[in-house]
Symmetry: D2
Subunit: 311 residues, 4 copies
């Protein structure tokens, strides 16, 4: 299967892991979800990340899930392999790359503080994984408490040839994209594919600043695909009009802790998942919250006809 | 001057501290700002908070600024008096209450972790300040790293009679408002006035959940006033329509670290401030960011005619 | 094999995972280490904790290591099964309990902040693991950023019958031991076995406050065994004299980040491990540090003849 | 009065602020304490730091306290002037330097994360304070959550000429001292005076690694003075023997949160303070803890005859 490159662009959907109401992995829903992603023009899929409830899967479940996804979809698949130590990281990476993954994503452990610690950690990770494994650098300070300057990212990109992509979710983060693109133009670092996270909350401007797309899990990925395409086609006002119509819901989904609940609830209402169950420990979406989401969906449907609810 | 009560409602504007281009307090702009607040229907003003750059003022400047504000405006004024120790907190509180403040706001020091530590801290603070001083409890985990459950807030409200208001900016925070109102209805705690912060990012639903208004500094406070009023008048769709029109800018302003820069920039463009200078250490708003804000203002002006730019 | 109970006492040695110079698990050293533990009067062994480099082992290595240890030693074995989600926690727990472990240890994820969050997490964990699995509650704020009051521990002990032991490593922590013993006497909570960590830095007083022993990995576990025994026999001055003789080294080992390096270095010099290798990412013990440890060992050997160096 | 230089050496005592039992500043005790410091060979005094309860003093109390100290003692005085913003930092610095302080100490705000943020903060602080004001860089990650590599300290030392001293309290921190001295020898940075904190817990080796002394508040500062002098005179075993005799108490005092309580209690028992009162919010030293300290003092007095108790 195709590997990630420095020019990979578009939208990589962070796939939630569907569970049935008993908490078992619901492969029927997962298959349906993968078909849906292909049908709406998504460029790739990311699994075993935080928002895929990876830490709640047993080792054998993780293996089975990755195998299933690699088997079912023609899309490139990025697999989260984050681990504090390199040995288990490599074990998982070896397995999924052999099975056809397009690359692996590594988040920094929250003990990293200084510039040198961050750079060393990724140099060590890449050495452990092997130079042929495309590496996605995950920059998400709100969640990991690790802050990377553009200069640190440039040092990693320069000294770690296998690092080809940045999952960008710093907040604020727009100037960081501009700074990285500037460093590339000045030949101070090799090009990175930059896909943005943070639920898409700034995707309207991230694409304009030079991002190649998004890697996030917004419950209406069609929006992400369209914003990336409209911006690429220079239809700026159209991109913002569509984005703004989605922003009330997108903002609602982008709440820490309950974001995945919102996402699974909407995906269930859209008929993509059979159940919005999350594994314990988990937050519970209140009735009031569900009612608010319904209200937001109803308002959104007036602007975006694709948001049809089936349940 | 009138004191805060458990029924205080409306919008308290968090006033930025205007500086001239040399970094000196710009009282002309501050006076203009206070007149503006009165003219748009704001119910009160908050000074010496984090977003007022209080930690960057010397002791004598803080005193002078509060005196000026209390002198110039007829609006109730809340003063931030947060300090790790009670002695300096009381010194400032005594001074501003004697000069006519409506109440004081206290943020928790970031060393508090357990429920008991948080409750004890506020009990001690209230004892130090005196029972006649209306106290605003500031609940802002993203900034202070202190997490308060509804039960903790109920314990504070129950055991600290002078605590009459909650500045609510937990995120996610909607269910917390509902939980507090439920505890009040069950007589498990006395009523608190709840004014919401977080830049207003969830004000559309916060008011519906039972909040009494907002205490935040969004650069177009007219929006906050209107959403509170429209919701109170049960014009739900109108409230959301207006809110949604502002959301792209509101979200842009609500970025941590650079939010105040955005706010001051817009307020300068609106003619309220003469300069958007912040005191060091400060973030710098890039040219790209300014251009993006201009773009958002232009789009917003199509929906909300009040957003006129004069500079 | 015997299970942990509320009266378990003595010293549980946190066993480091020995690696050969290539980074492979060195089972010969591990076997030697287990024999050594038995020979010096240790009451039990703990594996797969942070100081056992558990996060650096692959899933299959972890399984093999636990099997080996359970096979080789007659001592009760506690296994660290911490995981953010309950499903992988249960998978590992099921496996090791079936193989003869005496209990499992669970550290709190660093996202827990409020009293209720902490209590709920452990209630959920115990429900997932099953009521017959003895649970060790790990209270280590410096490392996990989760602060538990005595009242929270009492709530867990009261509502989670399978929780029979506290691994106590709060700092400061002496008054916490007294507070828990007081709550037990007041029948406000069931008795917990309390074994202390923190490298033993306060073991001289912890035992006097009511702790049942230690669960830590100090490189001279004989000291831990003796302090527990001498205090139990009411030989207070002897206990402190011996403890004080070890304190310079013990303090040196108790440095965060490099503590395990110190421990493995001394254990190698004592002939227990063949190599002091740690898996990457790892700190490196400088030559100066090694020289200082040698100096401390030499001074210690004047007081404690058991500290003989063979390499 | 003499200013701090890059060659300042010896022991700077962090003076606690004595309060009488009503919580008012007890100037009689403070005067007695200053005389005591001079009598035991201390080289300087530090006031308005965290351990001096500076955050619990009102602005006017802080001013009065510094004036008193500068007036009473012939020792060089370092004043803590940490503040998030430069304006209040400069206001206090101007005042104390005009009154005869030897230098000012600046701790980093806990929002600093990246290397560049840290360096910039100190560059800005020094610019605000003025190039003639000797600056002490405080490196205390456990308390401030800011981690500075040797390279970052070297950048600050190189670009901030007024930064002449490092208050070193990283933990572990021995290799950092060696690394800095190496950078100095390689002319990669100008020499810094390095005085160590952390209660003195590693002073035995810190002096051997190249530190110039200590800046901390251990309740028996004679020990700090002696260890620095004995190491300078190459009496290594004597230095360690004396240090080891104090280590049990020193370790007890070095507990976070209650350390100052221990310190004030011992200083009261030694007749230096009239009361061990701390201002609220404060920890309370339990009866059990007081008894343990008494026990440690009694054991210490067998080795160090200077530790006489008068109350």
């Amino acid at each position: 299967m195709a590997l990630l490159t420095r020019d990979t662009a578009g939208v990589f959907a962070i796939a939630p892991t569907p569970f049935d109401s008993d908490g078992e992995i619901d492969y029927a829903s997962l298959g349906r979800l993968l078909e849906f992603y292909e049908s709406v023009g998504v460029s790739g899929v990311t699994v075993l990340g935080q928002m895929g409830e990876a830490p709640k899967l047993s080792h054998s479940e993780s293996s089975a899930l990755v195998s299933f996804v690699l088997d079912k979809t023609v899309l490139p698949v990025v697999v989260g392999v984050s681990a504090p130590g390199y040995a288990p990281m490599r074990a998982l990476s070896d397995q999924v790359m052999a099975a056809g993954a397009a690359g692996v994503m590594v988040a920094p452990p929250n003990t990293l503080r200084t510039d040198d610690q961050i750079v060393s950690y990724y140099q060590g990770a890449a050495a452990a994984l092997g130079e042929s494994v495309p590496l996605v650098l995950q920059d998400y300070p709100l969640s990991f408490s690790v802050v990377m300057t553009p200069a640190v990212i440039a040092r990693i990109a320069t000294t770690v040839p296998s690092c080809v992509m940045l999952k960008h979710e710093d907040w604020p983060g727009l100037d960081k994209i501009s700074a990285l693109r500037r460093l590339e133009q000045e030949s101070a670092m090799p090009r990175l594919s930059i896909l943005c996270g943070n639920g898409g909350l700034f995707l309207d401007f991230e694409t304009e600043r030079g991002a190649d797309g998004a890697m996030t899990g917004y419950c209406v990925p069609e929006l992400l695909v369209d914003v990336v395409a409209l911006t690429a086609a220079d239809h700026r006002e159209d991109a913002h009009d569509l984005f703004d119509a989605h922003l009330p819901l997108l903002r609602y989904e982008q709440q820490p802790g309950i974001g995945l609940s919102v996402r699974k609830y909407v995906m269930t209402r859209r008929g993509l998942l059979t159940s919005d169950t999350q594994r314990a420990p988990r937050p519970i979406l209140s009735t009031a919250a569900r009612t608010e989401i319904d209200f937001l969906l109803e308002r959104l449907a007036r602007h975006d006809k694709r948001v049809k609810l089936v349940s």
